[in-house]
């Protein structure tokens, strides 16, 4: 299988502060990959580099084409849905309008309608609240909305930045079940940034652990889970 997303020796930072010191990783078509590490290790910056939110050097390739000098809007249009830190919900708009923003670039109307049905099957609460302002949703519901919107973009790759942040354990579990289901039924690849290593490793097949801007450990998720020294020193459980 060829890699859908490849990062090669990516360096990035904010102003004069560099955060990534040469990160290389790859995500295969349809694969779930965890990106783990402590606060400040560069997980979010890695995702931001992919979608052009931060300047980078090295190379990032998506589906065989480099993303160099490609603006955020155009990276996204190539098939990457990025659910950012804080979820990126448009709180000035209604739930429905947020969903529409997910599908607004698509011309395959019939398929869009099907995707809406699926989304409402996964998240019935969003259907009930379609007309309400997105600002009225709880944290868990906003995370659902962000995922639903990303799904409606029908991406080939989803970048999820801490989907568990600030949510109750029950909600986290159901959201991860849905991520798994989305991955399996639509063959969407997922690059998952998480603090909660245990639940991320359960979902992913491969994982990278970042430490101050470098890949410290890389391997199959199951191996990392079984490796006690890795778990203790990097994953904290």
């Amino acid at each position: 299988m060829t890699a859908l997303l490849e990062l090669e020796n990516v360096r990035a930072g904010y102003g004069s502060t560099s955060v990534l010191h040469g990160v290389s990783l790859s995500v295969l078509e349809g694969q779930v990959v965890s990106l783990l590490g402590a606060n400040g290790a560069g997980k979010t910056t890695t995702l931001r580099a992919i979608t052009g939110g931060v300047r980078w050097t090295g190379d990032i390739r998506f589906a065989g084409r480099s993303l160099r000098r490609t603006g955020t809007e155009d990276v996204v249009r190539r098939g990457i849905a990025h659910v950012p830190e804080g979820r990126g919900i448009c709180t000035e708009l209604t739930v429905d309008e947020n969903l529409k923003l997910g599908s607004h670039l698509r011309r395959d109307k019939a398929e869009v309608a099907k995707d809406y049905d699926r989304v409402f099957e996964y998240f019935p609460v969003l259907k009930e609240r379609r007309r309400l302002s997105a600002s009225t949703l709880s944290g868990g519901e906003q995370q659902m909305l962000a995922l639903a919107r990303a799904l409606l973009m029908r991406p080939r790759l989803m970048l999820l930045d801490e989907p568990s942040l600030g949510l109750a354990p029950m909600v986290v579990r159901s959201i991860f079940e849905i991520i798994r289901s989305i991955n399996q039924t639509s063959n969407v690849a997922v690059l998952l940034v998480e603090q909660n290593a245990r639940i991320a490793l359960d979902l992913s097949s491969s994982a990278y652990v970042l430490e101050v801007g470098r890949v410290a450990v890389h391997g199959a998720s199951a191996e990392l889970q079984d490796n006690e020294s890795v778990r203790r020193s990097y994953l904290g459980y």
Partner: protein, 292 residues
Amino acid sequence: MQEFLQLVVSGISTGAIFASLALALVLIYNAMGLVNFAQGEMAMFATFIAYTLVNAGMSFWIAFPVTMVLAFGGGILIQRVVIRPVERAPVLTLVIITLGLATLVNGVAGFLWGYVPRSFASPFSPDSVDLGGVFVSYRDLGVIAVSGLVLLAIYLLLQHTTVGLTLRAAAHHPEASRLLGVHVSWMLALGWGLASAVGAVSGMMVAPILLLEPNMMQTIIIYAFAAAVLGGIESPLGAVVGGLLVGVTVNLAGAYIPNAGDLQLAFGLGIIILVLILKPNGLFGRAATRRV
């Protein structure tokens, strides 16, 4: 009572003009977080273009949409050339730039057309119609109808089209919108284009009432500011309601308070100050909150 109703109707007519310009201010406020101090001058300039077209023999009803289209293009051009290079500059820089733009547009209009006031023929009949004892001039009705249609069109565009949706998303949530594939920078330019076109309507509607000259909009813009602030500076609907309220208030005050004619502009400024003290978010604005 009849006189009162007549004053209310002509107040609504004046208010519709304020509403158009106030909506233009709100559209740009949403796009860049700042009112465009050159909005009135841009409207004046567009009105001069309409005047030139009409003088060249074009019918007003053709010159009107043509001017709107030209103003739309001009608004986009100004955003691309003048505003975009300084998009990330501090607010004060942008304030100075739009003030400079106002002076520049005013000066260019003066250079091209001079400062002698010109009369701009009204496209509406000077007669009045008797609506149950209340005499309403066709001119007032015409201004209300034209402004109302333009405002309705903008409302439908913003609320019921995909372009309108992406425009609103880009204005309020630029970062999130980019991640959804919205070309934010072009959406902001589109906001400028729309604002410029709506502003042009206010100029073309007010020119037959005042006289056309480069400083024509300088009092109107104060009322438009009052209307926008009253409505809540971020709310398009608020701008329209605010515009109508300001129009009616100013009209009634001018008629019923003795010798108030000279003070009308002070009423406009008074409204701004009162709203900012009593209800800083206006009638339709949300409280400015920030999640921590």
